[in-house]
Assembly symmetry: C2
DNA sequence: CATTAAGATGGTAGCGCTACCCATACTTTG
DNA sequence: CAAAGTATGGGTAGCGCTACCATCTTAATG
């Protein structure tokens, strides 16, 4: 009785957008059939599929993914949580993730924690409010609440950058300690004895701290003395490298090699050395990480441990997508390893 | 009669998440009151607000923004559409946008067009399906469909990077032609006469093409001959700079200055020149854009036109937020200008 | 002290879509 | 040829939240 009355009341909120119901009317089928034609085309006849497609085209229908998400739980959004966008490494990984997800019809929701695990925890809460289809987050260290919430959640989660035995769900990355170990090992093999470690933001960036740990382990194994650890409490930059070189040159017992926590800092060291006429590697060897493009354009070329960053992003996205398509990925924990790219700087 | 029966049927889809109704029950108020307490605290009594907050805390309630978005239209998501994540410039802008939006409780949905306007158009359709609160996109050139759809849409839209008279809605950026003009003008004033322009990806990156236009205009005004245009059909990289230097040195009538379409390429030129012992600026002057951090660590320092990229992102986000809070921003079109940072390379 | 305004809370309907179940029309099987 | 599948389409009821309107207080007004 009054239901018709209500129905006749003009919609007050809709913005006149074309809805699935409009398409259904135009195609002469029920709304649910349109939904099926669009989402599971195999379950409708070819003829209906065609009529629906034509109606979609004619009306310019664009699905409201929010509504779909509410009904089906799962919005084709994948939040990606990283510490910072100021780090080139993350950018390349994100770029790869984004490309892969977008190709599969998923959108990336990007959020940054500023290296703060509490912030990460509250971000996870927030993004779960978007009913995402999966989540990608950085590192293996999280607040317990994050871990339990995501485990209970039951949808695909990929942790990137690091590798470990016990991820929340799936994991793609490299072993930070092994990285640090490999570089110092290389320097020792090259005959350097007093190797200094230059780190930036170690308190925040615990993955950089892992590299330091690997460095120290390699020193112990070789029975070598430490060449000192220089720590700068700020994000990595060329400027940090410049200052590190100054500080190293001022040291009483000068190191013969510097192990930099990443390529940006190492590049800063090399650039400053060239400016000051300090010969590399004769007076001082320099090694870095990640294989930034700049590394091979410096003189001498920077020795670096290249990590397949794009690959990391792509594989993370693919693990997620595989799970979303119902399969069980083989090797849900993947160590991508690294490659020593020997330049003239060591 | 049967409505109770239905109600008793266990919910089959909900994942047991705490809902607003649960909070309402716990706090002893109606759901709508909880909604108000959370979204418009001014409209409920302090006492109710407290009870609700306590219940939220006790139950660990996290709002389902999807549901809110469906009901209210507006999901606190801001899609940001850029051509590529491989360009440092975009990264810095995005970083700034993200920081500002996140601080205001909005999330950034990032999508890339790969420099393709058709892709941009379909991306706009897709992201509008998320009922976003606003949209940020790159440049002022779009498919007509994009422009009309966003205009009709009625929510805040900011176009970044470029500036122009007739944005879809709001606009923050710099004048690309003026940039190109200023650099060549500077080179002419420094006494250089044969100025080559090195561009990469000009066909895709029409903003780089604008800089070329400015360059040519400056040449005309000065009555100077063109030193040639070298175009590389690939994204900007150090490598492009390296090749550009080779190509320039091989030219019959060698230019005395190179105007590079951005700092990455210019840096590649400088690095290669230093490797080859070509004196800068005596034999060849080099100028670039954007003020990348690397520019000032090169020897000689790169002369560059610095653009306030973070500022651009921040202002774009702020224009959007201002509109979202109901205000009408003053100066919805903002030209951020640029600064000539004179280095030793010119 | 009646009358009005303002403030606080609740009831109801629905945002646009899809999960679940059911109703047909065909096949396939013994 | 009946019984049992197997496609194909539709009906109904929400997903969790907020807009709109109605109701009930309480304070302000003349």
């Amino acid at each position: 009785m009054d239901s018709q009355e209500i129905r006749s009341r003009k919609r007050h909120r809709g913005k006149g957008r074309v809805t699935l119901a409009d398409v259904a009317r135009q195609a002469g089928v029920a709304p649910i059939t349109v939904s099926r034609a669009l989402n599971t085309p195999g379950r409708v006849s070819a003829e209906v599929k065609e009529r629906v497609d034509a109606a979609v085209e004619a009306l310019g229908y664009v699905p409201n993914l929010i509504a779909g998400g509410l009904a089906a739980a799962g919005t084709r959004v994948i939040p990606v949580i990283v510490p910072s966008l100021a780090i080139l490494t993350f950018i390349e990984v994100i770029d790869a993730i984004q490309k892969r997800l977008e190709a599969a019809g998923y959108q990336m929701l990007l959020a940054t924690t500023d290296w703060d695990l509490d912030r990460e925890a509250s971000l996870v809460d927030t993004v779960l409010g978007y009913s995402p289809s999966g989540v990608i987050l950085t590192g293996l260290r999280h607040r317990p609440r994050v871990i339990s919430r995501l485990r209970d959640w039951g949808r695909p989660v990929v942790e990137i950058m690091e590798v470990g035995d016990d991820p929340i769900d799936m994991n793609v990355g490299v072993d930070g300690v092994a990285l640090g170990h490999a570089m110092t090992r290389h320097l020792i093999e090259q005959g350097y004895r007093r190797i200094a470690f230059v780190g930036s933001h170690l308190g925040h960036d615990y993955r950089a701290a892992q590299r330091l740990e690997g460095h120290q382990r390699a020193l112990e194994e070789a029975g070598a003395a430490s060449g000192g650890v220089l720590e700068y409490h700020e994000p990595a930059s060329y400027e940090v490298g410049v200052r590190a070189l100054e500080d190293v040159m001022a040291m009483a017992s000068r190191p013969d090699a510097i192990h930099c926590s990443n390529d940006i800092v190492a590049s800063g060291v090399l650039l400053a050395a060239s400016r000051q006429g300090i010969r590399v590697p004769e007076e001082l060897a320099v090694g870095g990480y990640l294989g930034l493009p700049l590394a091979e354009h410096l003189t001498p070329k920077l020795t670096t441990l290249a990590v397949a960053r794009s690959e990391m992003g792509t594989q993370a996205a693919e693990l997620l997508l595989e799970r979303l398509s119902g399969k069980t990925p083989e090797r849900p924990i993947r160590d991508l390893g690294f490659t020593l790219v020997k330049g003239g700087s060591t």
